[in-house]
């Protein structure tokens, strides 16, 4: 009898172990890790960074305090980037830098992935794409890209002279790779720069970025 009870209680115990205990408190949701302040969005201070540029010079965000800074994530192999580099992105870079804006083009592709460049190839990048940015910054570890939560190429940020982010997200409202879609698209970076220049608050401070996934360094399984 006792033996049976023993076995029965052991099995009951196991059965109980497989039952989920229902939560009786109705408002007890499992916390989702969400901190709106965690990743810098419009209005937040731009995270600091120091990266080596194509010429091998260290560039820090702090070097450009007091100026408007544009960050542009790029990958020359990405069809969405190619669309904008058919002339539109270069034109925007020229306009902005002529206005005294610092334009930093960032490559966060890891070594061995699409878009990664180094050495002579990095030096030649600007001429090859007839680009007009201020500096081409190399982020092979992906640290800076992740700090800014940059997801795609292109993905854009504008930082005001006080170091605050005033624009975060996609370059325009036509999420395609087709050159003909540049016509009539609303380029959020251009309008945000115009707003900032005129001293107006930025109309559209965020737009969903579109493009190719940034080729960050692979997860290293330890």
């Amino acid at each position: 009898m006792i033996r049976m009870l023993t076995v029965a209680s052991a099995s009951l115990l196991l059965l109980a172990a497989c039952q989920q205990q229902p939560a009786t408190a109705p408002d007890k949701a499992v916390p989702v890790a969400t901190e709106t302040t965690a990743v810098a969005g419009p209005g937040d201070m731009a995270p600091a960074f120091t990266l080596v540029d194509a010429e091998g010079v260290q560039r820090s965000l702090a070097d450009f305090k007091g100026k408007t800074v544009v960050l542009e994530w790029t990958n020359e192999g990405c069809p969405f980037v190619k669309k904008h580099y058919s002339g539109a992105m270069q034109a925007l870079q020229r306009e902005a830098t002529a206005d005294g804006v610092i334009w930093l083009t960032i490559i966060s592709s890891a070594p061995g992935t699409q878009g990664f460049v180094e050495g002579e190839e990095a030096k030649a990048w600007k001429a090859k794409h007839r680009a007009a940015f201020t500096h081409l910054l190399l982020d092979p570890t992906g640290e800076t890209g992740k700090r800014y939560d940059a997801k795609t190429t292109p993905d854009m940020r504008i930082i005001d002279p006080e170091g605050r982010l005033i624009y975060v997200g996609g370059i325009d409202d036509r999420p395609t790779n087709k050159v003909e879609d540049l016509e009539g698209a609303n380029n959020f970076v251009r309008t945000a720069l115009a707003d900032a220049k005129a001293g107006r608050p930025v109309q559209t401070a965020f737009a969903q970025p579109y493009g190719c996934a940034i080729k960050y360094a692979e997860t290293v399984a330890s």
Binding site: I2, R3, V7, A10, L13, L14, A16, A17, C18, Q19, Q20, Q21, P22, A23, T24, A25, P26, D27, K28, A29, V30, P31, V32, A33, T34, E35, T37, A38, V39, G41, P47, A48, G77, C78, F80, Q114, E143, K146, R147, D149, K151, T152, V168, G169, T176, N177, A205, F206, A207, Q208, Y210, G211, C212, A213, K215, Y216, A217, T219, A221, S222
Partner: protein, 725 residues
């Protein structure tokens, strides 16, 4: 069914402006079978325009589909592509008056790519499109349908836009058309199962950095889903890559979503529309802004089904399986040295000392113990795999996340301890003479039961090697996974079994005598310790029910003492038996109350007295790294003795504290004592299914370093030094 589908298609019909009419093709061959222009190919994708029905009927809706066959490793995308890529677009050129509708998007897969999440398709997918065929077309004609399909085909490395011109000749005839023999059934199935509105009422509220979505009614009121996941139609509303925490209610469910950048920047712009996917089906919902609906929570948490949507990874090689099995065996062996097994060692030792000089009995007990261990592993692992397949985010040791189980185990440990102290005997009279009145649990059943207890209490801690094996097992097909779990059990039981099977080893033990009794009485104290420890865990898990458990324990002890008295003095125990029964009823009542106590609200517990810690969240890690500070993450649980020992030693030493200071590191603690799906998901990301897990993130390194599970002060200090460099 067909009629219903046609009707639904008609309802969801929306004329798109991209149609550019061309001349109507005249054909003389009446009733000819459809002539498809055939599949078009690029290196990465093959696409074909295929009909659902054998012909089109004048004045009806004809359904055609773009069939994609995608190269392995590549994907195309849903209407909201998630974090990268782009949706498939179709531009039609159709005969006069044939008007195309919108794509009926099938439910997408969730495609994780490092820190990004995409929504899309792989392998073979049909995108059905309803076409309105005017009444003016004549039977006998042939409609030539042309479409330029624009696909974004992406792998983990690159994205390639592909344009393919597809064509289909569809004959016109009167009468209901049969399904097209090639793909008709497949398309019909996709049309029937494509998510569509189902009378679910939904509300969305955005406050305190959380987007709360409640959905009730419709199919949700029929049966509670096991998991749920929301795919928004628009990007930027939610953080696509974040876990979605769900709650079940009598009428529906609540999802707590991490907001996307667009939401935090622009606020909630209702309606929030998208697809609610569950294990019971997927439906289109549109949530107006408003307070949470009643009946959408209160029946416990549900997962987001990410585990469930993982296709059976048939790619598990035999080599990987053998490696996992070997590691499991090693892990099980090492588990015997881990602190968490300590309470059980007492029971094993007591049993061993008993049967040391009766080889046959010892052998039987050893094998029974092994059977108990293996059976329990089978049950627990089976339950774990089944629940995970149902989309619950659970990890190894989940049984100790339930306060009811912890309470029951605490009482059981108390009973075992009282037995070892000699308060009562189990199975007295079954044993022959010469064993003294204080027999242990009778033979094989007792040994089996010891095995069961060993696994239930001890296995939640993971040992080195074991962590890897379990992480791998959870991704394998279930028979392999169970085999790995069994190897773990074998490893755990092996030392004991080997000793029981080896008469030479057994004969080295001292002869039986009074010392055995003393030993057993002594060994009761680790069991009392185990009961206290479990009671402490229970107290941490529940809001305020510890007194109930103590009461139940007291009553149980009283009952067992009375029972023991009736054993030693038979014949004069009638009153005692009545009293014992009474006390037992009280004990059980209190025990049930204790088991049903409400879980405590999840407050971060300061698990380490010496290091200031903050609760873990993925965002907290990122925020600290953004400040350029290293991060030490400790995933722990109160019921994990190994975790506690590490925290008491390596993690709370003054040298560690100094190293933390010197490195300006942030200490984050993920407390898994109670169920927490976000932590379960994070453990899984690192290939683990249990605690402890220690991670050190260095600024500038995307991926953390995993520290050993038996921490030494030196290892922590060194890792912090490396991270701060």
């Amino acid at each position: 069914m067909r009629l219903l589908v046609a009707l639904l298609v008609w309802l969801t019909f929306a004329a798109s402006a991209s149609a550019t009419p061309s001349a109507l093709d005249q054909a003389l061959k009446a009733g000819a079978a459809p002539v498809a222009a055939g599949p078009q190919r690029t290196e990465r994708i093959e696409a074909e325009l295929v009909p659902m029905s054998a012909w089109a009927t004048p004045g009806s809706t004809a359904i055609v589909a773009v069939r994609q066959k995608i190269k392995p490793g590549w994907h195309t995308y849903w209407r909201n592509q998630g974090d990268s890529g782009g949706p498939t677009t179709l531009s039609w050129s159709l005969p006069d008056d044939v008007v195309p509708g919108d794509i009926l998007w099938p439910l997408p897969e969730r495609q994780r790519l490092q820190s990004l999440m995409n929504y899309g398709y792989s392998d073979v997918v049909f995108l059905p499109v309803p076409l309105r065929v005017p009444a003016s077309v004549q039977p006998g004609q042939i409609l030539t349908l042309r479409v330029t399909a624009h696909f974004y085909v992406c792998s983990d490395e690159m994205c390639v836009p592909e344009d393919l011109d597809l064509a289909l000749s569809l004959p016109v005839r009167d009468g209901a058309a049969p399904l097209d023999p090639r793909h008709g059934q497949a398309i019909q199935a996709v049309v029937a199962s494509a998510p569509r509105p189902a009378g679910i009422e939904a509300r969305a509220a955005f406050a305190d950095g959380r987007l709360t979505l409640t959905a009730v009614g419709g199919p949700l009121a029929d049966a509670p889903p096991k998991w749920a996941y929301f795919f928004p139609f628009e990007g930027g509303i939610i953080d696509h890559a974040a876990a979605q925490a769900g709650q079940r209610g009598p009428q529906g469910l609540t999802l707590t979503l991490a907001p996307g950048r667009g939401l935090t920047a622009n606020g909630l712009k209702p309606p929030l529309a998208g697809v609610l996917s569950t294990d019971l089906g997927a439906w289109e919902i549109s949530a107006e802004q408003g307070a949470a609906l009643a009946g959408a929570s209160g029946e416990g948490p549900i997962g987001d089904g990410e585990a469930a949507q993982k296709l059976a990874p048939g790619a598990t090689t035999i080599a990987a399986f053998l490696q996992a099995a070997l590691f499991a065996l090693l892990g099980g062996l090492i588990l015997n040295l881990m602190p968490c097994v300590f309470p059980i060692l007492a029971m094993k030792a007591a049993a061993l000392s008993r049967s040391a000089h009766e080889p046959a009995e010892a052998r039987r007990d050893g094998l029974a113990f092994l059977a108990g261990v293996l059976a329990t592993f089978l049950v627990l692992a089976g339950a774990l795999l089944a629940l995970r397949a149902g989309g619950q985010a659970l990890g190894w040791g989940f049984q100790l996340q339930s306060p009811a189980v912890v309470a029951a185990l605490a009482l059981l440990m108390l009973a075992v301890a009282l037995n070892l102290s000699g308060v009562f005997q189990v199975g007295a009279g079954l044993q022959g003479a010469g064993h003294g009145p204080l027999a242990r649990l009778p033979g094989a059943a007792g040994a089996f039961f010891t095995g069961v207890l060993a696994v239930v209490v001890a296995a939640p801690c993971t040992a080195p090697f074991m962590a890897f094996a379990l992480g791998a097992a959870l991704l394998m097909p279930w028979p392999m996974a169970l085999a790995v779990f069994l190897m773990l059990g074998l490893g755990l039981a092996l030392p004991y079994v080997l000793i029981s099977l080896s008469p030479r080893l057994l004969s080295r033990l001292p002869r039986p005598g009074p010392w055995m009794e003393t030993l057993r009485n002594l060994l009761a104290f680790p069991m009392y310790g185990a009961a206290l420890w479990l009671a402490w865990v229970y107290g941490r898990q529940t809001a305020d029910a510890l007194a109930l458990l103590f009461g139940a324990g007291l009553m149980l002890a009283l009952t067992l003492w009375l029972y023991g008295r009736s054993q030693t003095a038979p014949g004069k125990g009638r009153l005692a038996v009545v009293a014992a029964a009474l006390f037992l009823v009280v004990a059980l009542g209190l025990g049930v109350l204790a088991a049903r106590a409400a879980p405590a609200s999840s407050e971060p517990s300061a698990s380490s007295a010496h290091l200031a810690s903050q609760p873990w969240s993925a965002q907290a890690v990122q925020a600290a790294l953004a400040e350029g500070r290293p991060v030490l993450v400790n995933f722990t649980a109160d019921w994990c003795v190994t975790c506690k020992i590490n925290e008491g030693a390596a993690l709370s030493s003054s040298r560690t504290a100094e190293a933390m200071q010197a490195a300006n590191a942030v200490y984050l603690v993920g407390d898994w004592t109670r169920r927490d799906d976000a932590i379960t998901a994070e453990l899984q990301r690192h290939g683990r299914s249990g605690v402890p897990l220690y991670l050190i993130y260095a600024p500038g390194q995307a991926e953390p370093r995993i520290l050993p599970q038996l921490l030494t002060e030196g290892a922590v200090v060194q890792a912090l030094k490396d991270a701060a460099r």
